[in-house]
Amino acid sequence: MRVQFLTLLTSVFCVATAAQAKPEEKISPDTIIQRVDEIRSPKEDFKMMIEVKNNDGDLSTFEVFTKGKDKTLIKTLTPDRDKGRNMLMLGENMWAFIPNLKRTVRISLSQKLMGEAANGDISRMKWSGDYDAKIEKDEATIWQLLLTAQKKGLTYDKLIVNVEKNTFHPLSADYLTKSGDVLKHVTYKAYKDIGGGSRPTEILIEDAMRKNISSLITIKSITQTTLSEAIFNQNALN
């Protein structure tokens, strides 16, 4: 019995030593960002209900349909004054249906959705493919990544994202201008099992200059589903 115990202890020690001795496998920044994207939203088609609340208490709700990587339809549900203000994103291109004018007009991704939240904040929830990633800091539990826009027309030119190593959860991000000035500070929190994975259900966007101005995006539900291509159509926005 004693011999068996010693053998087991020795084996455990050897395995542990071997594991420590093995050089840590380097993970590429692109892989990290892909894993982060999988955390932020499902890979396949999905529909989500979100709420955007400003620090002054103003509240809007949206229904967001996403097909593949670059097709998103946003329907404004409340408040009543904005109902019907639907938006469509195809690639880096965006259109909005303006109920007052009863017309669909072309808009830019950087135009504001509500408060501190830009259209691109909810319509484009994937960074891989849009941004070049570089590891800025590799700390014990966190990677700090610098993302630089590969394409024109994206909502932000640069991002600094802090990612938790063992879960690939994005924790916080700074959205920067081309020259490196911080525009917004973003916190990803309230991780819950939703839409087939553990995802942040609250995204707090704070103005970097005016600390008292913020918007909180709350993801109420994510439903994975198959969406018809036909609804991602400028003619179908009304």
């Binding site: 529909k47 400003n54 002054d56 103003d58 229904e63 349909f65 329907k75 408040p79 009543d80 004054r81 904005d82 109902k83 195809l90 690639g91 880096e92 291109n93 965006m94 007052n100 004018l101 009863k102 017309r103 669909t104 007009v105 072309r106 808009i107 830019s108 991704l109 950087s110 135009q111 504001k112 509500m114 408060g115 024109k152 027309g153 539900s221 439903t223 994975q224 589903t225 198959t226 969406l227 018809s228 291509e229 036909a230 609804i231 991602f232 159509n233 400028q234 003619n235 179908a236 009304n238």
Partner: protein
């Protein structure tokens, strides 16, 4: 002056009637929002399935299961429907700045019912948008039921088809839309009203298809609402009996669009339609007086629309060519059929603090050397637009200036919109027109006005 102004009692009675209608819709809407009709309890499913992708309604289980726990297979062949009701109760008033009097008043109620219908594996969408209104001008009173939408749509994998009464909007530019040619305008409405508000819905088959970067729209409009409607206004010489000769013209056409990698969105269109601008031929009436008789002509329009967004800017361009455009000479009223080229090039910029401003250059060219059309064969306009939403879109100020290059035509509009509460909206519009006897604004030159609209959205 308005001869038969509302007495307070009459007004209160009418408002009460609208209120009852309105409350009826509010009551109906409280039952709306995606409740199935006559469904049993459902078993839970492993993965959620979108039942009606088009309008995003889900079946609601009566067993208390989360709505996302129902599979389409759980509902084989069971009729399923959802409905949303909303509406608006409001009042509009036009006040003529030139004549110092009210020229029209319009209490109205708008109701909107949209719903999804699922039968087995078939998904449909239905939309009804109508309005009941009483329009009282200084010449007449008109009570109307008017429908802007009454259609049934079916969504397939990459296409959808919509059949029924509907409005379709084409074009990218603001001001006087030049390629928005599918629906016709109601010539009895105030011409300075929103272009969309004055649109007449048409019975159409509207087929749309999307594939990768392409989109296609095909339209057939076999029956149209009667468009010869210029029964009041412009001239005593207009033959008021002309609408008896109305004939239906089969309108058809389509639009194909392609979105390039660099974001340039190009759409080319063709549409065969009845003439949009009212035209007249001189004739003798039954008393042998010379009168102008409004006539219907068939025309073809083809052109392109383009838009490109970059950073906070958007470039837009609309172009239309009509090989046989009908127009009366402003000199002697003679009717001509000439080629017409219309173009509008616009630029919009959105600032960080939400101010949106736009610039636009618009041209109308008639290819004719006839002296009767000499004054209107080339018209050029420049327009500016500022829109500034404040207080989270609860208040918005908008200003539009549209003026002729090389002519005295100027149209200035200042528009204030504010929400008193979340559901009560007020619009105040001031229109000032310095028109010429020719040009795009000539028909509106005496119509300077102050317009007020207040509406409760429910």
């Amino acid at each position: 002056m308005i001869k038969n102004a509302y007495t307070p009692v009459l007004l209160i009675c009418r408002l009460f009637t609208y209120l009852i209608l309105c409350l009826g819709f509010s009551f109906a809407s409280s039952f709306g929002s995606s409740y199935p009709v006559g469904l049993p309890s459902y078993k839970a499913a492993d993965a959620p399935v979108l039942l009606v992708s088009e309008n995003t309604s889900y079946a609601q289980p009566t067993s208390g299961l989360p709505e996302t726990m129902i599979k389409r297979e759980d509902l084989p062949g069971i009729p399923w429907m959802s409905a949303d009701c909303s509406g608006e109760l409001g009042y509009e008033q036009n006040y003529s700045l030139r004549e110092h009097m009210s020229t029209s008043s319009r209490p109205f109620v708008i109701f909107n019912v949209s719903g999804g219908l699922n039968y087995g594996k078939e998904d449909y969408k239905l939309s009804i948008l109508g309005r009941k209104e009483t329009v009282k001008t200084n010449r007449r009173e008109r009570k109307d039921w008017r429908f802007d939408e009454l259609w049934l749509g079916k969504t397939l994998e990459s296409s959808r088809i919509i059949i029924g009464l509907q409005k379709i909007t084409w074009g990218e530019t603001f001001g006087i839309p030049i390629v928005d040619i599918v629906n016709h305008q109601d010539n009895n409405e105030h011409p300075l009203n929103s272009f969309e508000d004055n649109k007449l819905a048409s019975w159409m088959i509207n087929y749309q298809m999307v594939t990768h970067s392409w989109n296609l729209q095909l339209i057939a409009s076999p029956w149209n609402q009667q468009k010869i409607a210029q029964t009041e206004g412009d001239s005593l010489l207009i033959d008021k009996s002309s609408d008896h000769d109305y004939r239906n013209i089969f309108e058809f056409g389509g639009r194909i669009g392609y979105l390039l990698e660099n974001g340039l969105d190009i759409k080319a269109f063709y549409y065969h339609h009845e003439n949009h601008f009212p035209v007249f031929e001189p004739t003798l009436n039954s008393q042998f007086f010379p009168v102008l008789h409004q006539v219907q002509k068939e025309e073809d329009s083809l052109g392109v629309s383009q838009s490109l967004a970059f950073d906070a800017s958007v470039l837009r361009w609309d172009l239309i060519y009509m090989p046989g455009f009908h127009i009366n000479s402003p000199i002697n009223g003679r009717l001509f059929k000439v080629p017409r080229l219309g173009s509008a090039l616009g630029y919009d910029y959105a600032t960080d603090f939400d101010l949106l401003f736009g610039l636009q250059l618009q041209s109308e060219i008639l290819s004719s050397s006839h002296p009767d059309l000499e004054e209107i064969d080339q018209l050029h306009y420049f327009a500016t637009q500022f829109i500034y939403p404040m207080s989270l879109d609860r208040f918005q100020i908008k200003s539009v200036t549209f003026f002729g290059l090389g002519s005295d035509e100027i149209w200035q509009r200042v528009e204030l919109m504010f929400y008193l509460f979340n559901q009560v909206r007020a619009d105040l519009i001031w229109d000032d027109i310095q028109g010429d006897h020719i040009g795009l604004l000539s028909r509106n030159r005496d119509l300077d006005r102050l317009y007020l609209k207040i509406a409760w959205q429910f």
